[in-house]
Symmetry: C2
Subunit: 427 residues, 2 copies
C-alpha cells in the first residue's frame, strides 16, 4: 500500500533555520504520497479535496531522530548510575548484553524497547543491538513491525570483554556477513549499519574486515568516540600507531570515507580529531544525559555547531536514562550552560531552537530529507497534546514548544506519522 | 477528626542513614493517630487489628519535601530559560508576579499550582507567594484545602523592582503585619514564613522591621543566597557594610538567630558564609535544576554534606521547570558529577541514596520529625505505581527506587498520606 495523502491540521512547529523556529498556528501540513508538500496557514486550493486529520489545538512537530541508542540497555535504564564508563560497562552493560544469547529473553526485552520507542516522539533511530546475530535480527523484525525507520547494528567485539560476549575475529566477521545476507532486502524501513562497539573492544584485523565490508557495500558505520577519560587513555595505550582516537577508525575506513559514519559523544575530541570529523562529514551524536550520568563531561557542541559539523542528539539509553529526544534537547541546553559557566565561557550556551534543530533536522538529515516540514521532505510528524501543561493565559506556539522540550512526557504523544503512514501507538 | 490508624502494605523504602537506603520488601508501615509506629517485614501482633491498605507491589516512600518553590512562577514553568537570573527576573518573573494583584487571575494560577503540587510526590513545601497579601492568603487557603503541609510567605520588596510590584517600606511592613494577623490560627497545616525576596529588593529599614518581627514571633524566614554572579555582585555594591551576602541577612536577625531560616541556592557561598550558615543552623535549599537553567553553576553540596549543614532539595519552580522532587534528586546527582568533572574533583559526586535523603529526611526535618519511617515520625507516605517502568527481570526495591528517581512521573503517584490523612489526588 502506498502512503496516503492527507492534511494534518494543528499548531505546526519546525525549524526556520538552525537558529530559529518556524511556527504556523492552526496550520495545514500537507502529505502527498508519503512526502511533505509544505506547511500552510491558509490551505492552497489544490489540496482542498484531501482528507483532513483534525488535531486542532495540538502541537505538531517533525518526528524526532535518536542518533544513538542501545536497545539491550533499555532493560536497565535508570540503574547503576553511580559509576564511570569503563566500570559501568563491566558491571552493568556486559552482563546484561550477555543475556541476549537467549532469544526468549531478547524477545521480552526488545519488545519493551520497541514499544517504548514507538510510544515516544522519536520516528527515526540508530540502534545498537548486541553481538548476537539472531537477537539482532529479532530486533530488526520488531522495529520493522513498529513502523519506525531505523538503522540497526549487530555489535562487533573480539577483545577486552567477558568471555560470554567476546567473539573470535573470524566468528565476528562471519556472523556479520551472515547477518547482512539474511536481512538483505527483508525490510522496508529497517537497515543494517556496521557497528564495531568501540576501539577498545575491536582488534585491528576485525576493523580491517569491517572496513572492507564498508568499502564493498557502502554501509554506514556507528560507533563511540572520545567519550570518557578512561576510555580515551585506553585507546591511546591500545593504538599507539594512531594520531588520535578517531584516526583509529579512519585507518580502517570506518570514519565516513566509504559509507557515512555516526560517532557518539565526542566529549574529548582534540583539534585534529574535530578537523577529521569535519573533513569526513562524520555525524556527531551528542548525548548530554549519558555524558552527565557517566561523569564524562560536556561535549563542546557550540564549537561543533559553529564549525558546521553534522550534529544530532542521542538518548544513549542506558547511559542516558530517558528515551525522550525532547528531554535530550532540554539536557543539551542545560549542560551547555554548565559547561559555559564552569569550563569555558567562550562557548555560549545552546538555545532551545538550536537544540530542537539538532533533534529534528540535524539528526534527521542522516536519514535523507527528514526533520523539516518542507516540500519534498519525508512526512514524519508527531502530534503532542500539551493541554496537560496548563497555563493561566494563552501561550504562543513557540512558547508551547519550549515548554514541551522541558516538560512533555511520552504520554503526550497522541499520534505519530512516519513516511506518511500513521504508526500505531502502544497503550 | 483525628488521623486514622492503619497499615500500609507494600515495598517500603526510606533512609537507613544519610548514605544508605533501608528497604522492606512487602512490608508493613504502621500509622497510629497520624504518627508512624515503624516499618516491619513481619507485622507485630499488637497491630493485627488495624485495617490494612494493600499497596502490594508498589513502592512506598516517605513524602518528599520541596524546600524552595515559587507558586506564582508555576504559570510560566519551562519558559524563558535562555537568560541569567537578573535578566530573567526582569523579563519573566516580575511581569508575571504583578498579575497576582488580580485575585481572579491568582485563583486560576494558584489552583493550577496547588493541584500540581498535590499530584506530585511532595507532601511538604516552603512556598514563596508574591507581595500581594490577598493572593497570598488565597494560596494559603488552597494549600490548606489540599491537605499538604506548607510554609507560605508573602514576599517583601521595597526596592529595585517594577513600580507595580514595589511596596513602600511602611506598606510592606503593614501588609505583612495584617497578613500575620489575618492568618493567625486559621489553618491546621499551613503556616506563615517571613519572606524578604532577597537583599537586592529589600532596604535596610524593611529588613530591620522583618528582623524585629522574627524576634518577636519566632517565625521562620526564607530567602535567596549567593545564587548567581550578577546577584552576588549586586549585593556587594548595595551592602558595602556587610562581610558577605549572608551577613546582610544576619545583621537584621534574619539568618536563623530567631526563627529558623532557609536559604535557597548557596552556589557561590564563601568560606565565611558557609561557616555562618553552619553556626546559625540555616537550611540550604539545593535547587540543581534552577541553578542549571539560569547558568548559576553548581552548589558545592558535597562540602555542605561533609560539614553537616542542614540540607534539603528545592524545585525552585520556575527557575526549575519541574515540580518533581524525585527529579530534583536525579538532577542533584547529575550536576554533582559535572561539578566534579568540570570544576573541582575534590568534591566527589552525590549518590542516589544521598540525594534521596536530602529530598526526604533532610528537607523534612525543617518540618520536625518528618521524612523517615521511624516510630514517632509524622506519617507522610507516597505510594508509587512503578509498573510502567518495565523490566525483563525482577529488580530489588533499591533498584526500583533508583529508577523512580530517574524516570518516575507525577502520574505514578497513586496514593498519598500526610500526617496520617490520605490526600485526594487531583485527576
Amino acid at each position: 500500500m502506498n502512503a496516503a495523502s492527507f492534511i494534518l491540521k494543528g499548531d505546526l512547529c519546525d525549524s526556520l533555520d538552525r537558529e530559529r523556529l518556524r511556527t504556523v498556528p492552526d496550520g495545514y501540513l500537507v502529505c502527498l504520497d508519503g512526502l511533505c508538500a509544505g506547511a500552510f496557514s491558509v490551505l492552497p486550493e489544490e489540496y482542498h479535496a484531501l482528507p483532513v486529520i483534525d488535531c486542532s489545538g495540538k502541537l505538531i512537530l517533525p518526528g524526532l531522530t535518536d542518533l544513538h541508542v542501545h536497545a539491550p540497555q533499555y532493560a536497565f535504564r535508570g540503574l547503576g548510575m553511580d559509576q564511570e564508563l569503563m566500570e559501568w560497562l563491566a558491571a552493568n552493560v556486559f552482563p546484561e548484553e550477555a543475556r541476549y544469547a537467549d532469544l526468549a529473553y531478547a524477545r521480552r526485552a526488545y519488545r519493551d524497547f520497541t514499544q517504548a520507542l514507538t510510544r515516544s516522539a522519536t520516528t527515526r533511530a540508530c540502534v545498537f543491538a548486541t553481538v548476537h546475530r539472531p537477537a539482532t535480527e529479532l530486533l530488526m523484525d520488531l522495529l520493522e513491525e513498529s513502523g519506525l525507520v531505523a538503522f540497526v547494528g549487530k555489535v562487533n567485539m573480539d577483545r577486552d570483554c567477558p568471555d560470554d560476549l567476546r567473539e573470535t575475529t573470524d566468528g565476528s566477521v562471519a556472523e556479520t556477513r551472515r547477518w547482512l545476507e539474511e536481512t538483505a532486502g527483508k525490510y522496508k524501513r529497517v537497515r543494517p549499519i556496521l557497528t564495531p562497539r568501540f576501539i577498545p573492544s575491536c582488534t585491528d584485523p576485525l576493523l580491517d574486515e569491517l572496513g572492507a565490508m564498508a568499502a564493498m557495500t557502502g554501509l554506514s558505520v556507528q560507533s563511540h568516540l572520545s567519550e570518557n577519560r578512561g576510555e580515551v587513555e585506553c585507546v591511546r595505550r591500545l593504538r599507539p600507531d594512531t594520531a588520535f582516537y578517531g584516526d583509529a577508525y579512519d585507518r580502517h575506513g570506518l570514519f565516513g570515507s566509504h559509507g557515512r559514519a555516526i560517532m557518539a559523544h565526542c566529549v574529548l575530541s582534540s583539534d585534529e580529531e574535530i578537523a577529521r570529523i569535519r573533513e569526513r562529514g562524520v555525524y556527531v551524536a551528542h548525548c548530554p544525559q549519558s555524558n552527565t550520568n557517566l561523569a564524562s563531561g560536556v561535549a563542546p557542541v557550540r564549537r561543533y555547531w559553529d564549525e558546521g559539523l553534522n550534529l544530532g542528539l542521542g538518548s544513549d539509553v542506558a547511559g542516558g536514562s530517558s528515551l525522550s529526544i525532547l528531554r535530550a534537547m532540554a539536557d543539551a541546553v542545560q549542560v551547555s550552560k554548565l559547561r559555559w559557566r564552569l569550563q569555558d565561557d567562550s562557548l555560549r550556551p545552546l538555545t532551545v531552537p538550536e537544540a530542537f534543530w539538532m533533534g529534528t533536522a540535524g539528526g534527521g538529515s542522516f536519514f535523507g530529507r527528514v526533520g523539516l516540514f518542507r516540500p519534498g521532505y519525508e512526512f514524519d510528524a508527531v502530534v503532542l497534546d500539551d493541554s496537560r501543561l496548563t497555563a493561566p493565559r494563552p501561550l504562543t506556539v513557540a512558547q508551547r514548544l519550549e515548554r514541551a522540550v522541558y516538560l512533555s512526557e511520552d504520554r503526550d504523544v497522541v499520534r505519530k506519522f512516519v513516511q506518511g503512514r500513521e504508526v500505531s501507538l502502544p497503550s
